[in-house]
């Protein structure tokens, strides 16, 4: 109980510090502005459905800005404590290193929740507004009106939050052992890129003509690197829930949660050995 209380307080202060940062305000406002104005870019839809383009545009912005925010904020908030020696003051108290690190992670993940929630709210409003306009036009033309599934948007928000949690946890793992902030940010961004390209390893593993070394490497990559592409079912969840394979969201949530937990546990083990 005492341990939970300490983790809560570290997370709370981390959250309060994070939301005061200019980077958070800047990316949140820019993301919200771009998501809000996504209808204005619909002429770039390359023949896709208009709502699908708006949804993809908004979800892409959310992932891009969210990943940047998760990586920079996680690394920055941890290194600020280490460099300013506030970590020294705190860890000289009966506060476990794992409690400290878990608190930092939860604080950043809470910031991600605010980010996803606000951007999803903006995007949901844009999609619903445009869908109602298109529905009126479709009714006049006697076509089927497009629908926006609110439940799907909620599931999507949860998946995005989890995806950004996985990104934060990967950066936490790197930062727990790294010596510099810059290294953590670069390695964190490379980890995000690796997660986006993880399907390449899956393809390699599925190939029969791959060598033993390649297959071993691919097998390791598919286990160690989370597949961030599996969270890319936003447009289907929101615009065409019937096309989402049953169990896909649950599988993504389970896999994401397992990776997140593993990264945080390994980060705690690494941080325990670190000299402050």
């Amino acid at each position: 109980m005492q341990s939970m209380r300490r983790i809560f307080w570290i997370a709370r202060i981390t959250f309060l510090e994070a939301v005061r940062q200019r980077l958070f305000s800047f990316l949140l406002l820019l993301g919200a502005a771009l998501a809000g104005s996504s209808v204005a870019f619909r002429f770039l839809n390359f023949g896709q459905g208009e709502l699908k383009f708006v949804a993809d545009f908004g979800f892409g912005i959310m992932f891009l800005f969210g990943s940047l925010l998760a990586v920079v904020m996680m690394a920055q908030l941890l290194f600020a404590e280490l460099d300013n020696r506030t970590a020294m003051t705190l860890l000289a108290k009966p506060l476990g290193r794992s409690e400290f690190l878990l608190g930092k992670f939860l604080g950043v993940w809470a910031v991600m929740a605010v980010f996803v929630l606000l951007l999803c709210a903006v995007l949901g409003a844009v999609l619903l507004s445009r869908a109602s306009e298109l529905a009126a036009l479709a009714e006049e033309a006697g076509r089927t009106a497009p629908v926006v599934d609110g439940g799907g948007l909620v599931v999507f928000a949860v998946l995005q939050w989890l995806r950004l949690g996985v990104v934060s946890a990967m950066t936490l793992l790197v930062s727990a052992g790294a010596r510099t902030f810059l290294f953590s940010v670069v390695a964190g961004m490379l980890a995000v890129l690796g997660g986006q390209l993880q399907w390449l390893a899956q393809d390699l593993l599925a190939k029969d003509d791959a060598g033993v070394f390649q297959r071993s490497l691919a097998w390791f990559a598919t286990r160690a690197v989370p597949n961030l592409q599996q969270f890319n079912i936003g447009d289907a969840l929101v615009l065409d829930p019937a096309s989402v394979p049953p169990g896909a969201p649950s599988a993504a949530i389970l896999s994401g949660f397992l990776h997140l937990t593993a990264f945080v546990v390994i980060a705690c083990a690494l941080f325990r050995r670190r000299e402050i």
């Binding site: 000289a92 108290k93 000299e275």
Partner: protein, 283 residues
């Protein structure tokens, strides 16, 4: 009764560079710090004081040797629960008020939720920070930062308080105030370990001192013991004329003593400053 801090055969090597060359920061250090005293740990920069403190606080693992706090292993949570620490040049979250900061530290130190308010008020009062407690930490002067640092170090009522350069960057008035706080802690029965470069202050407030150089202990003992020069004496004479001085010299020589030096006693710059600056005498 066990010592407040017991350091036995402590050695710490740091690996330097890619080849992992070893740099010995602390070399076979053994110190026993008795309870209820103010203990000064002195030495030049790079002598291993801070590394020693970090090991005592469980922030760095020793290469060999052992440390204990009030009988518990120094790295244990129980030892840290009974210890308060003020680092050198402390930095705190600027957006928190002094009261919020001390409350936050109290919660991390295991103070019960029901007792937080009273503990925070008591610590703020001890550090003379009650009046500025509701201001954001970002608006504090250096001296106030040190004092709020002191408040967070004592908020959980620790038996041992470790202060690393508590008066660094603080003016003589603030420095004297911190010196009085340290004396107040001693009178409450707490043990204070003080790391400082201000030798004058250490001399004033410490009961015992240890001097380190290149990771080794070079001198340890009570302040009286280490500073007294048993082969010399000091006489304070008023109205000394040249004739009286010559007579005194002759009388001393007749009795086998040698008059070494005749000079005027000096007051310290700190005494002069406190005498001249308004309000300093009471600070």
């Amino acid at each position: 009764m066990t010592s407040a801090v017991s350091i036995r055969g402590l050695t710490k090597d740091f690996a330097v560079g890619i080849r992992g060359l070893k740099l010995r920061a602390v070399d076979d250090l053994s110190i026993e710090i008795p309870r209820g005293q103010v203990y000064g740990l002195l030495g030049p920069n790079g002598c291993g004081k801070s590394t020693t403190l970090k090991i005592v606080l469980g922030l760095v693992k020793p290469t060999s040797g052992s440390t204990s706090i009030l009988g518990d292993d120094a790295a244990s949570a129980e030892a840290r629960r009974r210890t308060g620490f003020l680092p050198e040049a402390p930095y705190f979250h600027r957006f928190l008020s002094g009261r919020e900061l001390v409350g936050y530290c109290a919660r991390l130190s295991g103070v019960r939720e029901d007792d937080i308010r009273a503990s925070v008020d008591r610590a703020l009062e001890l550090a003379s920070m009650t009046a500025a407690a509701d201001r954001p930490v970002g608006t504090y002067s250096k001296g106030m930062l040190q004092r709020i640092g002191l408040a967070q170090a004592v908020v959980h009522d620790p038996e041992l308080i470790i202060l690393d350069e508590p008066t660094a960057g603080v003016d003589p008035v603030g420095s004297a105030a911190i010196g009085r706080m340290i004396s107040a802690m001693r009178s409450e029965g707490r043990t204070v370990v003080l790391c400082s470069h201000l030798l004058g202050q250490v001399e004033q407030v410490c009961d015992r001192v240890a001097i380190m150089d290149r990771g080794r202990l070079v001198l340890e003992g009570s302040v009286e013991e280490v500073l007294a020069r048993r082969d010399r004496h000091l006489l304070e004479v008023r109205g000394l004329t040249p004739a009286a001085e010559a007579a005194a010299r002759e009388a001393l020589e007749r009795n086998g003593a040698l008059l070494g030096e005749v000079s005027h006693p000096r007051r310290s710059l700190e005494e002069l400053f406190r005498e001249l600056v308004t309000g300093s005498k009471d600070a």
